[in-house]
C-alpha cells in the first residue's frame, strides 16, 4: 500500500476503502481488537500466501476449487448468484476494474467524465478477442449490445436506470449519457453483471435473457465444460491479450455446500482451494503445514436491522438503548472466532467513507442504556423483544443469540425467532419484523449500503418511516449522495448521514467480518481484493 496520499485518495475514492483494509491489514478501527479471547489469537488480516517459493510463478496445472454454493444459472446479465459472478468474472470482462489501489483498465484503457458529470466516454482496448467459436476482435458495438441487453426487463434493477443512452462513438470508443448525475455509476462498472459478451454467441444459445448459459467473453479463461450439479471447468484462453496470463491450464469448480465437507476436502487434498471457510475452521487450516489461509477483511457487514415502524422499535430511545447494550467484541469472537472487527459502520477506518463518530459512538454501556430507557419512560417495561434470525448464516444466528444474552444482562427480556433463510428474507422485504440479525456483503459505494435501507424509493420496504426523527434530512442526504459527483461533497454528505444513523439508529452496526478461503500450501498468487470474485489468472500451483 503506497503511502503517497494522492494515490491513496484516488484509490479510496474508487473503492471506498475495503481494499485498503484487505491489502494493508486492518488497524484498530476504534474498537479494541478481538485478539484477547480464549482461542488462539487471530493475527491482523493480511494475506498469508504472499511469499512465493524460489523460481517464481510456474505455469500449468489444474486448480480444483471447492465452492460454497450450488452452480446456478450462468447468464451474467440475469443471475445474481455468487458462483455465476465468479465464473463470469474469469470468462468475461468488465470495462474497468480496481487494481493496486486505483480504478484500472480492463476492457477500457482510458476514460473521461464530462464536466456536467453526465457523460462517460471510454476508450476500449483494440486487442480484446472473443473466445471461440466467435473468435473475433471486440469492438464498441459489442459494448453497446451488452449494456442494452442487461438493461432490458429491469434486469439490473435501478443500477442502470440513470443511463439515458449508450452509443458507439468510434470503433473503439463508447459514450454513456446519464439522465442525471449518478455518482455510484462509475464504480458499478467494475462489477460482474456489467460484462461484455458477443451477440452471435448469445443468439446461438437462444437469445433471451437467461439463455446465455455457456458464457463466451474476452477473459483469461474459456468456459469449457459444465456437468450440471457436478462440476464446471474453465480452461486457459491461449490467445488472451496479456502475455503469460493465465498461469493455470484449467480451473475445476465443484460445489461443496457443506462447510465441514469443504474443509475436509481441502485437508484431504481433494481440493486445492475452498471458499467460505468459517472462523472456527480457519485456525485448523492456519495451523496445519499442508494448508494456509487467504483472508480479506470486511467482506460482510453484520448488523441488527430494525423495522422502525414496528413497536417498540419505533421508539428511537429503544433503538439507542439496545445499541448501547450490544457487546460487539464478544459477538465477533463467538460468531467468527475473531476473524473480523467490531464495527459501528460498514466502512473501515482507512476508508474515505468512514466517519469518525468520536465519543458519540454507542459503545457498550449498560448503565447508559438503562438511563436512556428510564428517560423515555421505560417503554420496554413488560415487553419481550424478538430478534429474527436463521441458521444458514452463523454470523446472524450467533449475533441474535448473544444479543439476547446482552439484553438480559441489561434487564431487557428478549428472545430469538429462528427462521429458514428464505422466510427471513421475505419477512425482511415485506417488513414483517421488529428486528433481525442481518448481514450484507460489502458494497463499493455507500449509496448501495444506505439508499435501499432508508430511502422510500429504495427497495420493497421502507425501513425508516417518514415520521422518524431527521427522516427528511436523511432522505435528502441520500439523494444528494447519489446525484453529487464531487467527491469531497459526497464525503461530507455521507459523514452527516452516518452521524444521523448513530443518533437515530435505523440499524445497529455490529461487525465487519473477513472472507476466508483455504488453500493447499502449494497454491500461490491468490490476491484477495475488494470484491468477492477470485482472480484465477493470477494463481498458480507449485510443487
Amino acid at each position: 500500500m503506497a503511502e503517497d496520499s494522492t494515490d491513496r485518495r484516488t484509490f479510496l475514492s474508487a473503492v471506498g476503502g475495503a481494499a485498503a483494509a484487505a491489502l494493508a491489514g486492518c488497524t484498530g478501527d476504534g474498537g479494541s481488537p478481538t485478539d484477547g479471547g480464549t482461542s488462539s489469537p487471530v493475527p491482523p488480516a493480511t494475506q498469508t500466501d504472499v511469499s512465493t517459493p524460489e523460481g517464481g510463478p510456474q505455469s500449468g496445472g489444474t486448480l480444483r476449487v471447492g465452492f460454497e454454493s450450488e452452480l446456478t444459472g450462468l447468464d451474467p446479465h440475469r443471475t445474481g448468484s455468487v458462483v455465476s459472478w465468479l465464473v463470469n468474472f474469469n470468462v468475461c470482462e468488465t470495462l474497468i476494474t480496481f487494481a493496486d489501489g486505483a480504478p484500472a483498465a480492463r476492457l477500457a484503457t482510458d476514460w473521461e467524465i464530462g464536466d456536467d458529470g453526465r457523460t462517460y466516454t471510454f476508450t476500449l482496448t483494440e486487442d480484446a478477442r472473443f473466445h471461440p467459436p466467435v473468435d473475433r476482435q471486440m469492438t464498441a458495438e459489442d459494448v453497446v449490445y451488452s449494456f442494452e441487453r442487461m438493461n432490458q426487463e429491469g434486469a439490473m434493477g435501478s443500477d442502470l436506470a440513470a443511463v439515458e443512452s449508450i452509443e458507439a462513438t468510434g470503433d473503439y470508443e463508447v459514450t454513456f449519457t446519464l439522465s442525471g448525475t449518478f455518482a455510484p455509476f462509475f464504480n458499478f462498472l467494475g462489477r460482474v453483471p456489467w460484462v461484455v459478451v458477443p451477440e452471435e454467441a448469445v443468439e446461438a444459445q437462444g437469445g433471451e435473457l437467461g439463455d446465455f448459459q455457456e458464457p463466451v467473453g474476452t477473459g483469461p479463461f474459456v468456459f469449457s465444460e459444465y456437468e450440471p450439479g457436478d462440476s464446471l471447468t474453465l480452461s486457459a484462453f491461449a490467445e488472451y491479450r496479456e502475455e503469460g496470463v493465465p498461469l493455470l491450464d484449467a480451473v475445476e469448480i465443484t460445489p461443496i455446500p457443506d462447510a465441514d465437507s469443504r474443509v475436509a476436502a481441502l485437508r484431504g487434498g481433494d481440493m486445492d482451494m475452498v471458499r467460505g471457510v468459517s472462523g472456527s475452521d480457519a485456525d485448523t487450516l492456519r495451523e496445519s503445514e499442508e494448508t494456509k489461509l487467504s483472508r480479506q477483511s470486511g467482506t460482510e457487514w453484520g448488523q441488527l436491522h430494525i423495522n422502525c415502524s414496528e413497536a417498540p422499535w419505533d421508539d428511537p430511545a429503544v433503538r439507542r438503548a439496545v445499541a448501547h447494550v450490544v457487546d460487539r467484541e464478544a459477538i465477533v469472537e463467538a460468531a467468527v472466532s475473531g476473524y473480523g472487527r467490531a464495527a459501528w459502520q460498514p466502512y473501515a477506518e482507512d476508508s474515505i467513507w468512514h466517519y469518525d463518530l468520536g465519543d458519540s459512538r454507542r459503545t457498550r454501556d449498560v448503565e447508559r442504556a438503562q438511563q436512556i430507557l428510564e428517560d423515555a419512560g421505560n417503554p420496554l417495561e413488560g415487553e419481550t423483544l424478538t430478534i429474527k434470525t436463521n441458521t444458514r448464516y452463523s454470523l446472524m444466528e450467533t449475533t441474535a443469540d448473544l444479543l439476547v444474552a446482552n439484553l438480559a444482562e441489561a434487564g431487557i427480556d428478549a428472545e430469538t425467532e429462528v427462521l429458514e433463510w428464505g422466510t427471513q428474507l421475505e419477512d425482511f422485504i415485506t417488513g414483517n419484523f421488529g428486528a433481525m440479525a442481518f448481514s450484507v456483503p460489502f458494497k463499493i459505494d455507500p449509496d448501495r449500503h444506505y439508499y435501499g435501507f432508508v430511502h422510500p424509493d429504495g427497495t420493497q420496504f421502507n425501513h425508516y418511516g417518514a415520521d422518524q426523527p431527521d427522516a427528511d434530512r436523511m432522505y435528502e442526504l441520500l439523494e444528494q449522495g447519489r446525484s453529487e459527483t464531487d467527491e469531497e461533497t459526497r464525503i461530507e454528505t455521507y459523514a452527516e448521514f452516518e452521524g444521523l444513523v448513530n443518533k437515530n439508529c435505523p440499524w445497529i452496526s455490529i461487525a465487519r467480518v473477513d472472507g476466508i478461503a483455504g488453500l493447499r500450501s502449494n497454491v500461490y498468487g491468490n490476491q484477495p481484493w475488494l470484491l468477492p470474485y477470485t482472480r484465477f489468472w493470477t494463481m498458480w500451483k507449485g510443487e
Binding site: G66, E70, L71, T72, G73, D75, G80, S81, E153, G154, A155, G157, S158, G210, D211, Q213, E227, P228, G229, D230, S231, T254, P255, I256, P257, D258, D260, S261, R262, A264, A265, R267, G268, G269, D270, M271, R392, E420, W421, G422, T423, L425, E426, D427, F428, I429, F438, V440, R448, G452, T459, Q460
Partner: protein, 318 residues
Amino acid sequence: MVSRLQAFMVRRLLWALPVLALVSVAVFGLVRMVPGDPAIVMLGADASPERLAAVRAEMGLNEPIHVQYVDYVADALRGDLGRSYVTDRSVSAAIAGRLPTTLFLTLAGFLVSITVAIPAGLLSATNRGNALDGVGLGFGLLGVSVPNFWLGVVLLLLFGVSLDWLPVAGYVSPLEDPVEGVRYLILPGITLGTAMAAVVTRMLRSELLEELRREYLDAVRMKGVGELRVLAHATKNAFIPVVTVIGMQFGYLLGGSVVIEQVFSIPGMGRLLIDAIGSRDYITLQGVVLVYTTFFVVVNVVVDAAYFYLNPKLRGEG
C-alpha cells in the same frame, strides 16, 4: 401361481396411481404454503419492486394456483416437469442427470447393509448368548443410535483426511470408471448402509431365533438332515418378515441419501432437493419429490411381490 401374482401386481400398481396423484396435489399445495417468495429468494434483499414483479410474472406465480397446477400436470404427463426458476434448465433433464447417482448411492448403501447384516444376523442367532451374539447386538444398537451425518463426518475425517485412503468429496460414475466409481462410493455407502444393516441384523436374528424354536424343524432334523440345511430352511421362513423390513429400509436409504449427498458432496437428487428448498425453486422441488415418491411406491410394490413370492400362504400353496 403366476396368474395370481400378476393379478396381485396389477392391483398394487393400480393403487399406486391415486397415491401419486394425491402426492402431486399435496406437494403442489404444501410447497406453496411454505413462506418465502421464490422471486425474493432469487433476487435478494436489495431487489427493486419492478424487477420482483417481472420475475414473478415470468415464473407464472401470478396465476391462480389451480391454473398453475393444471398446467403443471398437463406438462408432467408429457414428461415435461418444467424449467427451474433458478438455473433455467429443464427439471426433467436435471433429475435424469442426477437420478443414477442417487440410485448408485442407494444401491451401495443397500449392498453394504445386506453384506453386513445377513452374516451378522445368522452368526448372532446361531451363537445366541455368547460373545459373537454380543458383538452383533452391540453393533445393532450402535448402528441405529448413531446419526448418519455424524458417522459420515467421522469416516470422512478418518479415512479421507487423516489416513487419506479414500476421496472425501465428489462423485465418479461407476459406469464411466468402475474402480474410481467404487472408491468414491465406499465411505458414503458405509455411512448410508450402517443404520439399515443394524436394523436388518436385529430383525434377522430375532426372526431366526423364533424360527429355530419351531417344531417342524425337529421333524426335519429327525430325518437326519444336517444342521446347515436346517438353518437354510429356517432362514427362508425367517426372511418373510425380514424382506418387508428390507423394503421399508430401502425407502429410508433413499431418504438418508439426501443427508449423505450433502456430507460427501455427491451431486445426486438429494442435493437437488435441498437446493430447491433453499431457493424456493417450486418447479424443481415438485419434480424431485414426485420422483422420490414414485421410487418409494415402486419399492413397495416390489417388496409386496417378494413377500407374495416367499409366503406360501399368499401364493395359495399353503
